[in-house]
């Protein structure tokens, strides 16, 4: 059994993995190139939305994660702005209505009692919705959280439990001996361990390539607008039907031609009162720029769905890189050809919802314990064999 584990990456997956390892009494060192939450986990929205997860393994992992969040503030002794306020998907067209009806039916079979509301019912529950909406879904179990607070709280709780955290230290190589990964090299310094967990999100392939392992994680840019502080405006997660279509679509379809930047509305309100208004899904490499066209398109879709938002001010826009995989599922598990090496990455836009659950699973796997749930659908071997 591993007694000594290195975690590479200080996002939500890496900090969660380090926390659960330290809690089990494992000697853990987290090594991060910049700072906690410096990458994707610090440039995203706040949704823990289950009704939008693909039915099957992703929904199961999401349910596992949602249960962890229910008690996480007490466990980490921190305010995470966790709120179980429910969530809705907005339906504007008959085409969306057909697709959403299908999704709702499948989710109901999976055990989520999602309701379909008429436009009138929805406007009662969420004042400010546009008059043209045909309806919305509603599920009370959706929640939200401040992802920055989760990352910092996980890192601090890991430290309190004995974890060492090295920031500003970029891992440039994986060390191997006799066919086994035995440590890492960072800033010229070698550190050895029984197991190495790589949780580098979109940057994971760059490190694994150094020992000949290829995995198909690709950065997919998402732009998000931030409003000035406004009085309570939305109290739950809101997604547009167009967002769902962009999330689940395959490359090259008709929708891609009509909406190349994958713009669809996601809306939530932070503890400070700002609205987070997303988003887009764009394949443009590691580019993190925000673009006037996409900012405008996101703003227009917000005002179309919530006419009152025309009078609110945007104070900034930012972009994050979501780690996309071809089948929409993350990679969580061992690298078969390199004993001692593990990967937890590729959650695309689901990292906040799934991060703590992934960390707990990864901590178990890295020390040779059972994962605690079915991880076969997330095996790296589905891409390499």
């Amino acid at each position: 059994m591993a007694e000594n584990v290195i975690v590479v990456g200080g996002g939500i997956v890496g900090t969660s993995t380090a926390y659960y390892l330290a809690k089990m009494g494992i000697h853990v060192t987290l090594i991060e190139a910049q700072d906690i939450a410096a990458g994707t986990s610090g440039a995203c929205d706040r949704a823990i939305m289950l009704q939008s997860k693909a039915p099957g393994p992703m929904l199961q992992l999401g349910l596992h994660g949602a249960r962890i969040y229910e008690t996480l503030e007490d466990e980490l002794e921190a305010d995470l702005e966790y709120r179980r306020g429910g969530g809705m998907i907005l339906i504007e067209t008959e085409e969306e209505m057909t697709a959403i009806r299908e999704l709702v039916e499948r989710q109901r079979q999976a055990g989520l009692d999602i309701a379909l509301l008429s436009g009138e019912q929805a406007r009662e529950l969420q004042p400010g919705l546009g008059a043209h909406l045909l309806g919305t879904t509603w599920w009370a179990g959706d929640a939200e959280v401040n992802p920055l607070k989760v990352c910092f709280a996980m890192a601090q709780a890991a430290q309190r439990a004995g974890a060492a955290i090295r920031m500003g230290s970029k891992v440039t190589a994986l060390l191997s001996e006799r066919g086994r990964v035995v440590g890492v090299e960072a800033e010229g310094k070698r550190t050895y361990a029984d197991a190495v967990v790589v949780a580098l999100g979109v940057w994971t392939p760059l490190l694994l390539r150094t020992i000949g392992v290829e995995l198909p994680i690709v950065p997919r840019k998402g732009q998000i607008l931030v409003s000035e502080r406004v009085p309570a405006f939305v109290s739950h997660n809101i997604l547009s039907g167009a967002y769902i279509a962009a999330k689940h679509r395959k490359d090259g379809g008709k929708e891609e031609a009509q909406n190349p930047a994958g713009v669809g509305l996601s809306l939530g309100q932070t503890g400070s009162g700002s609205l987070l208004i997303g988003g887009s899904r764009e394949f443009v490499g590691f580019d993190l720029s925000t673009t006037p066209q996409v900012i405008r398109a996101i703003g227009q879709s917000a005002v179309r769905l919530f006419p009152k938002m025309a009078g609110m001010r945007v104070i900034r826009a930012f972009a994050g890189l979501r780690p996309y995989t071809p089948d929409g599922r993350p990679v969580i598990g061992p690298v078969e050809e390199w004993p001692g090496l593990y990967v937890a990455a590729g959650h695309e836009g689901d990292g906040i919802a799934l991060g703590p659950a992934t960390g707990r699973i990864m901590a178990n796997l890295a020390i040779g314990r059972p994962a605690g749930c079915d991880v076969a659908p997330f095996a790296l071997s589905r891409f390499t064999q």
Partner: protein, 84 residues
């Protein structure tokens, strides 16, 4: 009155910024994410230079790295969503 407000938009005090630096923030974005300094309507125009100076006491290499400062974010000035 030693604990002055550094970020006026978000009401972030000197002690909070020093605490963030002790917790490992090594550049302006790290302070911003821990304290909200620079997240308000002026987007760091007022406080960013002061935060950078605090990061450089004792002098470090942070100031020479292009990542040390937060990016200027579109749309630069608060803009009505209806005007987009």
């Amino acid at each position: 009155m030693n604990d002055v407000i550094i970020c006026r938009c978000e009401g972030v005090r000197l002690s909070e910024i020093e605490q963030a630096i002790r917790e490992g923030a090594s550049a302006v974005p790290g302070v911003k994410k821990r304290t909200r300094a620079g997240m308000g309507p002026c987007q760091g125009r007022v406080c960013q230079r002061v935060v950078l100076q605090l990061l450089q006491q004792p002098p470090s290499e942070a100031g020479e790295s292009p990542d040390a400062l937060q990016r200027s974010r579109s749309p630069v000035r608060p803009t009505l969503l209806g005007d987009l």
